[in-house]
């Protein structure tokens, strides 16, 4: 079967997975990117969020054949950057993490937002994370964490 090539966290990679395999399964099982979480499996909860060509997408409802040639970034890739560290620091300071399951997806949504808009207001933050469900926090601490991340990482985006 033909190899499917794409860029994963800055590395050129390829997979021989079936093109209709779910991207989330290929990322987790073949590339060991277990920061990509499966929550709902139908694009509602955002736990499986990654960046595709700089935009946030749900990897549970993408087939791997759809991402040939794309540039993908997972939570692992983002966490290893100064911006990722600023996001983590902002979240930690705000006490934004409770059970933690939604956090990697939230961090991806935060990175997607701050790339487009390095100084978002509260409404823009809430819109940016509207596809990411958290059942613990009530969102207030996450919104606060994103505000803090934007300040801590000021100039990085």
């Amino acid at each position: 079967m033909r190899e499917i090539r794409f860029t994963l966290n800055g590395r050129e990679v390829s997979t021989s997975a079936h093109p209709m395999a779910r991207l989330i399964d290929v990322l987790r099982d073949e590339f060991r990117m277990t920061g990509v979480k499966e929550g709902c499996g139908e694009g509602e909860c955002g736990a499986c969020s990654i960046l595709k060509d700089g935009r946030i997408v749900n990897s549970c409802i993408l087939a791997v054949g759809m991402i040939e040639g794309a540039v993908l970034e997972t939570p692992e890739g983002i966490a290893a950057t100064d911006r990722g560290r600023a996001i983590n620091a902002g979240y930690a300071e705000a006490g934004a993490v409770q059970c933690g399951f939604c956090m990697t997806g939230m961090a991806v949504a935060t990175e997607a937002l701050l790339r487009q808009n390095p100084a978002p207001d509260e409404h823009q933050i809430r819109t940016a994370i509207s596809g990411n469900l958290c059942r613990c926090t009530g969102y207030a601490m996450i919104v606060d964490g994103i505000k803090r991340a934007a300040i801590k990482g000021s100039g990085l985006w």
């Binding site: 209709m20 989330i24 694009g43 749900n58 087939a63 054949g65 997607a112 819109t127 940016a128 596809g131």
Partner: protein
């Protein structure tokens, strides 16, 4: 096992479609959810799939001008986010997209997919009814164009033949001066509509010259009635106000919602009529 075709161009996509009857796949936000399977397994689809999301011929937004304003041609693989980023996207369509799903879905989902899915609750399709959109189809015998109301023939049913693909959606110039979009859903993001109203009108010198009212999720297909609209045209807003009771009665006959997990028929009908009344009473000025 499901077969995945990734054609190099539209001609090859049409050939695959004609030879195998493959299901077109663009963003996949409906198709891959409907056929979802256990983690680590392939989706359960009994037909081959032909991917069209990457085809450059379908990824374009073209603007052509005539005297009355810009005409927009939206390629079938253009995503909602790309429409939001485009300065020519009509406000009514923009308003419906902003309230639709969430960023991660809008980044992959397409307008053409929304109409091919043909849900009566399709929010963006509702805007297309109000905006007089036309759907362009390509097949072995060439291209054809259908008004959106003729393209969607029933819940989940369209006029698309097994050897055809949707290639574009055409929007005529939007000359409306009043736009009104209201979606009633359970929460702001990611909620499918209980019902929605997309309405627009052109008022020139205190006369309503054109009016378009589309109601979503209240009948087997989106409701738009040219005869009722015709009776509201070429009147001053205050004359039009006198016709509201009769107009609402006419819409009441067309609005035949169902009970489902999202809402009840009674609530849908009551709220849809209230929104039409609000549009006619408060927005037209």
């Amino acid at each position: 096992m499901v077969t995945f075709h990734r054609p190099v161009d539209l001609a090859e996509a049409l050939q695959v479609r004609a030879e195998t009857g493959a299901i077109p796949l663009a963003g996949g936000t409906d198709l891959l959810v409907r056929h979802r399977n256990w983690a680590g397994t392939l989706p359960r689809i009994d037909k081959p799939v032909v991917y069209v999301g990457h085809l450059q011929e379908l990824r374009r937004i073209d603007i052509s001008g005539n005297g009355s304003g810009p005409q927009m041609t939206i390629g079938a693989s253009v995503t909602y986010s790309e429409l939001l980023d485009h300065p020519t996207t009509p406000q009514l369509l923009r308003d419906s997209i902003i309230e639709l799903a969430a960023p991660g879905l809008r980044n992959v989902a397409t307008l053409a997919g929304n109409i091919c899915n043909a849900s009566p609750a399709a929010d963006a399709a509702c805007a297309l009814y109000a905006l007089d959109a036309e759907v362009e189809l390509a097949g072995p015998s060439g291209r054809r164009r259908l008004p959106i109301a003729e393209f969607i023939t029933g819940p989940g049913r369209t006029a698309l033949n097994n050897d055809e693909l949707v290639t574009a959606i055409h929007l005529p110039p939007d000359n409306s001066t009043v736009k009104f979009y209201k979606k009633v859903g359970t929460r702001r993001a990611n909620a499918l509509s209980k019902l929605s109203l997309c309405a627009c009108a052109r008022i020139v010198d205190r006369t309503v010259t054109e009016i378009g009212i589309a109601v979503g999720a209240v009948a087997p297909t989106i409701v738009r009635d040219r005869d009722i609209e015709h009776h509201l045209q070429n009147t001053a807003p205050e004359q039009l106000a006198l016709r509201i009771p009769q107009t609402l009665q006419q819409y009441a006959e067309l609005i035949r919602p169902i009970d489902d997990q999202r809402s009840t028929a009674e609530y849908r009908k009551h709220t849809a009529l209230a929104l039409i009344e609000q549009f006619l009473t408060h927005e037209l000025r």
